[in-house]
């Protein structure tokens, strides 16, 4: 390795320090919600109890389901079915109604009837979009903030490697009994290095997934500025064009599905199943049916196969198979989506995500700890970072707990308008998070212990309110093998235990003003 000059190291230190302080809390929020998103389907089961249905793997007739949909679906230009799986036992339907608004239904796989579900965004509708965009939809601003944070994370990881001199040694160093500042830095280095490949993979693949959003000009330019053409070449997107206005009945979806799957299985040499079944221009002569193998159980690669069949004749209009480089890219993206059926690996991702949270939180803490001995403690900058760190770490965890509790305690008929109750749960999240920041700004380091207590109380309240409102307490769910709900309750209890332990350890002890002792950040 060539000698690294002191100038370069200082530049990397500057970059690492300031990117970390400015974007650390955004990164923590994205990592925290991303970690939860790994279990978004299980969170959905917990928050929308009507979907706690056992998946029996029965064949579903999409012809029958289509016939059972509300009448305006019969002439909709967009009807999308999501095939049920073990983790998503209900059949998802998403269609544009006659007013042009999108309707979202969940169907019972046993009867095909829509389930009247708890009005909640839950994991897939709030936690997952928060991970992508902080749910700031205006001008896609949230996506750009998260994208900048992801880029910053890559810069932080590379600069972080150069800041530190003894990389291998740091893997084996953790001195919790030393001064808090030293111990914080040890933990920051240790958590960073243990998960380093994972931390590089996550922002890299996350940015890759949204390449066409982040590079709208660059990705469209090779196709003459037409992003639809680029999408069609890369992912097999298909546009049937406008409706002709000449009505025509749709042919059997089930027969077309079998045809598409037979075609794919022959190419793959192993059974390939449909995950997405989409009717475009339903009821019109221009109707087509689009089949996609989005999340294969036994593959990392996403959406390798897309078939488009003519709505009347069933003729194959498009048989898209990802070409080699596209497949490599889809593999990298699949490693971010984690939809393959591999539970041990899923838990490893979960631990990796939590490790990332520790890395980010200790990074911010070290910034504070290496300054508190100086007079800076009273400065606006120090107080701002302090409040952002406390509110951004324990605050967002407490706000998530409040989101779960609100889900169980807001009455089903609290709001007359559909969607209002779901939005109210999200407003509880934002309100509690905001309060956490204000609380941290006022109480300063005493806020840590209090917010940890809040997490513990909210987690227990969530478990208790689930037991009371649904009857599915841990005894029942464990006995019945309802692992999604049992797992969620158990994780909440573990969280409560850790938070209470931390709260006791964090209880403010009369701290003498520590004299400043210089220590290099290595």
């Amino acid at each position: 390795m060539p000698r690294i000059s002191e100038d370069f190291r200082q530049a990397m230190n500057w970059t690492h320090t300031w990117l970390g302080v400015v974007l650390g809390i955004v990164l923590f929020a994205v990592f925290w919600m991303g970690t939860l998103t790994i279990f978004a389907p299980e969170i959905d089961r917990w928050m929308i109890p009507e979907t706690r249905i056992a998946h029996d793997g029965r064949e579903v007739s999409y012809d029958r389901l289509l016939a059972q949909l509300p009448p305006d679906a019969a002439t909709s230009d967009y009807v999308n079915f999501v095939v049920p799986t073990e983790r998503h036992p209900t059949i998802g339907v998403f269609y544009r109604d006659s007013q042009g608004a999108f309707q979202n239904l969940l169907l019972d796989p046993r009867t095909g009837a829509p389930i009247s579900v708890t009005d909640s965004h839950a994991g897939s509708g709030f936690i997952y979009p928060f991970h992508l965009s902080l749910t700031i939809e205006w001008q896609n601003l949230g996506y750009w903030i998260v994208g900048l944070a992801a880029l910053a994370m890559l810069l932080l990881l590379v600069s972080g490697i150069f800041v530190h001199r003894k990389i291998i040694a740091e893997l084996f160093v953790f001195r919790p009994q030393r001064k808090p500042r030293r111990a914080t830095l040890d933990l920051h280095n240790l958590s960073s290095l243990v998960g380093l490949p994972f931390y590089i993979l996550m922002p890299f693949s996350g940015l890759l997934i949204f390449a066409s959003l982040y590079l709208p000009w660059g990705m469209a330019e090779p196709f003459g500025g037409d992003m639809d053409k680029a999408e069609a070449a890369i992912s097999g997107a298909y546009d049937p064009g406008p409706r002709t206005g000449r009505p025509a009945p749709i042919a059997s979806l089930d027969a077309m599905k079998r045809k598409a799957e037979a075609m794919w299985s022959e190419t793959e040499g192993a059974p390939v199943k449909t995950n997405i079944l989409r009717i475009l221009n339903n009821g019109d002569e221009s109707a087509v049916v689009y089949f996609r193998n989005t999340f294969p159980e036994d593959r990392v690669v996403l959406s390798k196969y897309v078939a488009v069949l003519d709505g009347q004749s069933g003729a194959v209009l498009q048989d898209f198979v990802k070409p080699p480089i596209g497949e490599a890219s889809a593999w990298v993206q699949g490693a971010h989506f984690i939809q393959f059926g591999h539970w041990p690996l899923r838990w490893l991702y979960f631990l990796g995500g939590l490790g990332g949270c520790v890395m980010i939180a200790t990074g911010n803490l070290f910034w504070l700890r290496s300054r508190e001995g100086r007079l800076a403690r009273a400065s606006l900058g120090y107080r701002t970072v302090e409040a952002l760190t406390i509110g951004g770490v324990t605050g967002i965890i407490a706000a998530t707990g409040a989101f779960f509790v609100a889900n169980r305690l807001i009455p089903a008929d609290a709001f007359p308008v559909k969607g209002a109750r779901a939005d109210a749960e999200v407003q509880v999240f934002w309100l509690v998070w905001l309060i956490a920041f204000v609380h941290a700004a006022i109480l300063r380091e005493r806020a840590w212990a209090q917010q940890a207590w809040a997490i513990a109380v909210l987690a227990i309240a969530a478990v208790a309110s689930n037991a009371v409102t649904t009857g599915d307490h841990i005894g029942v769910t464990l006995a019945e093998g309802e692992w999604a709900v049992a797992g969620m309750d158990l994780l909440l209890l573990i969280t409560a235990g850790i938070a209470a332990w931390a709260a006791i350890r964090l209880a403010p002890s009369p701290m003498p003003e520590r004299p400043f002792d210089p220590m290099p950040a290595e």
Partner: protein
């Protein structure tokens, strides 16, 4: 500028990171780097098909490589001892790539 080796604490900006210079580094690193990576993806997506690669594949390859351009370019501008000169070179390179991609 670069010879100043004072052991700046983490509180004070190291040499070469004062006011305007830091702003220049950040702007060229992030915004200039963004222009560079946009130009790179557009150019690779436009030029590789001339060598026989499928256009969609060229674009997939370009998007896979994009961060291998952006991250080093950004870190280079943040750390270089000659930020004015090298920043200008990066901006010119970005402009050249964008122009080439548009022309192909």
């Amino acid at each position: 500028m670069a010879g100043n080796r004072q052991t700046a604490g983490s509180q004070r900006a190291p040499a070469g990171f004062g006011g305007a210079l830091a702003l220049w580094r950040l702007l060229v690193g992030f915004v200039g780097g963004y222009a560079l990576v946009s130009g790179f993806v557009a150019l690779a997506g436009s030029a590789l098909p001339l060598l026989g690669m499928e256009r969609g594949e060229a674009l997939s390859l370009a998007s896979l490589l994009a961060l291998f351009v952006y991250v080093p370019a950004c870190l280079f501008i943040l750390s270089t001892r000659r930020p004015w000169r090298n920043g200008t070179i990066l901006l010119m390179l970005a402009a050249a790539m964008i122009a080439a991609a548009v022309m192909i």
